[in-house]
Symmetry: C2
Subunit: 340 residues, 2 copies
């Protein structure tokens, strides 16, 4: 039995290409005392990986040629010599883009046991995983949007934006999404239940947003950064909040490449409150998040839409698609069937 893994072939220059990656067959390490063997089932693909590969994302060293690409997986423990894990346990862990991973339970592996009975396994890397926690934390711990206020979120079809908007909606806000295709907007409105969604590729998207927010924008949950932030700031109400979560419009730039620079003047004029969000700060609140989110899932008020590719060797193409905004919903790779 072998392990197939995806390694870095060379550092991407700007938008990543499939040829920046290499698919390699390796041996599976033996499980020593204090270790367990994880069989990876689903691999999460997320925009932050672009920065992580380049060493621009906190806690991630720049990868060299031959390094396994960073990535979080839903996995099943196959064999264990570790006291805390037993065969059959399901976990989410930082296992990289590969079929198998041997862990010693180190903190860096960020292992979290999951309960396969509460939701589909794959939700644990999406709406009920780190992306969902991100959306929840931005709404509940930073924005705290008022009942009846207007909550706008970009990358709304994705698991961070989709969860953020659905949680804001559950708290009595008007939820308005921004996404990059009509199909994404359909998911946002028809599946996630947002009040409206604007396709920012439309020439008049700013006017469409204005029409969708008749009382102005009270909160903007920003996953995108760049010129879109400047445009939405013009529609922000006085003292409006901007949750600075992601800058996906800026992630594909080459190392030390130019970023979109923001004029701070309009933020002052709006008396804006810009609040930086890093999900790592909220790991300890995972249980609090689940207490809020699981009932919403059960009530059909927190939905998720997945964009799946099958086979670990498809991960590079699927990641390229994600980084070009061509995914619809949470991007993941099926590495193996749920039942071995």
């Amino acid at each position: 039995m072998h392990n197939i893994q995806v390694q870095l072939a060379k550092q991407p220059d700007g938008n990543p290409k499939a040829s920046d990656f290499q698919v390699v067959k390796t041996d599976i390490p033996k499980v020593a005392d204090g270790q367990f063997l994880a069989r990876n089932i689903y691999l999460s693909l997320d925009p932050y990986m672009r920065g992580a590969i380049a060493g621009r994302h906190m806690g991630h060293q720049r990868l060299n040629q031959g390094d396994v690409i960073y990535g979080r997986c839903v996995a099943e423990v196959m064999e264990s010599k570790h006291k805390d894990y037993k065969a059959g346990d399901h976990v989410v862990l930082e296992a990289g883009w590969q079929q198998f991973y041997v862990s010693g339970g180190e903190a860096a592996d960020e292992i979290r046991k999951i309960d396969a009975s509460i939701a589909p396994l794959s939700a644990n890397i999406g709406a009920l995983g780190m992306p969902g926690l991100t959306g929840w934390a931005g709404v509940e711990k930073l924005a705290n949007p008022a009942l009846g206020s207007t909550f706008v979120v970009s990358a709304a079809a994705g698991p961070v934006g989709g969860t953020a908007g659905q949680i804001a909606k559950a708290k009595g806000c008007r939820a308005v999404g921004i996404a990059g295709s009509d199909e994404k907007c359909r998911i946002v409105v028809n599946e996630y239940g947002f009040d409206a969604c604007v396709n920012y590729k439309n020439k008049n998207w700013a006017d469409e947003l204005k029409a969708a927010c008749p009382n102005g924008v009270d909160t903007y949950f920003d996953n995108v950064g760049g010129p879109m932030l400047d445009t939405i700031t013009q529609q922000l109400n006085l003292y409006g909040k901007i949750i600075m979560c992601g800058l996906v419009s800026q992630y594909n730039r080459a190392t030390d490449g130019a970023f979109h620079g923001h004029n701070m003047g309009p933020f002052v004029g709006k008396r804006a409150q810009l609040l930086g969000l890093v999900v790592y700060d909220y790991y300890a609140k995972m249980n609090e998040f689940m207490k809020a989110a699981v009932p919403l899932v059960n009530a059909g008020k927190l939905k998720f839409h997945e964009d799946r590719a099958e086979g670990i060797e498809k991960a590079p193409d699927h990641f390229v698609k994600l980084m070009n905004g061509q995914n619809n919903g949470k991007a993941l790779v099926i590495i193996a069937p749920e039942k071995a």
Copy 2:
């Protein structure tokens, strides 16, 4: 008796020059029913005026050739046919750069009666006027800095920064100023009583700031914007606050000229809280501010340093000096003696 006023000769291009202004002798309008005549004593010079002249500052229309320059004065009522004001009253009002002004008491004149017994008259356009209110509001209403935390403020020798730092110090913070000359730093430390002050014109100023803030920066009250903001953000503690008050480094740019664009990434990484401050929102709290500030003045804990020029015709040169950072403390023009 004539009135001497300073008008716009032509819109400044970049840094203002004295030749952008013209000094003109006019008649004093007759005082009609419902009006009063103000004899201007002190004219306040403030960086926001640069934007106001160009129509880039909220509530101020772009000036045309021949328009009197915007400006707030301490004045004495000489003659009154207005029920709310009588001869001998002292007021602060938007009277423009001139010796005399006839007001109908309109809201746009922003008239505030002042008590000549509580502090020197000129303080009412400085530490006890709008600049002081700005500093106080940023500290008390937005930053709310913790006891023992480190509070950094730029343009610290000026009336906004100087008041902000002294109020933060009075609240038990470590107050660290940033200013553009050794003489300004001397004022900040020796007169205002800050714990330290860094001259940003020194090549190693960022290292000096680090040494002056051994526990990092908890609050940065930003009057300057531009690259200094990026440098200080590097020294901001996690969840640190940035009060976005002024952008004086950006005010001299030509109309539609390039501004310094900020990368939002570092703000996210620091989980920064950026809060926009516009003093107009706090006019209604002037009494609350005075309740806090006057006892500080009386206790010698809120000091102010003025940079005076004498004669209204000196206003253009003195403003140019201010906009080039060559003033020391609050820039004002003595238009007339306090006692007529």
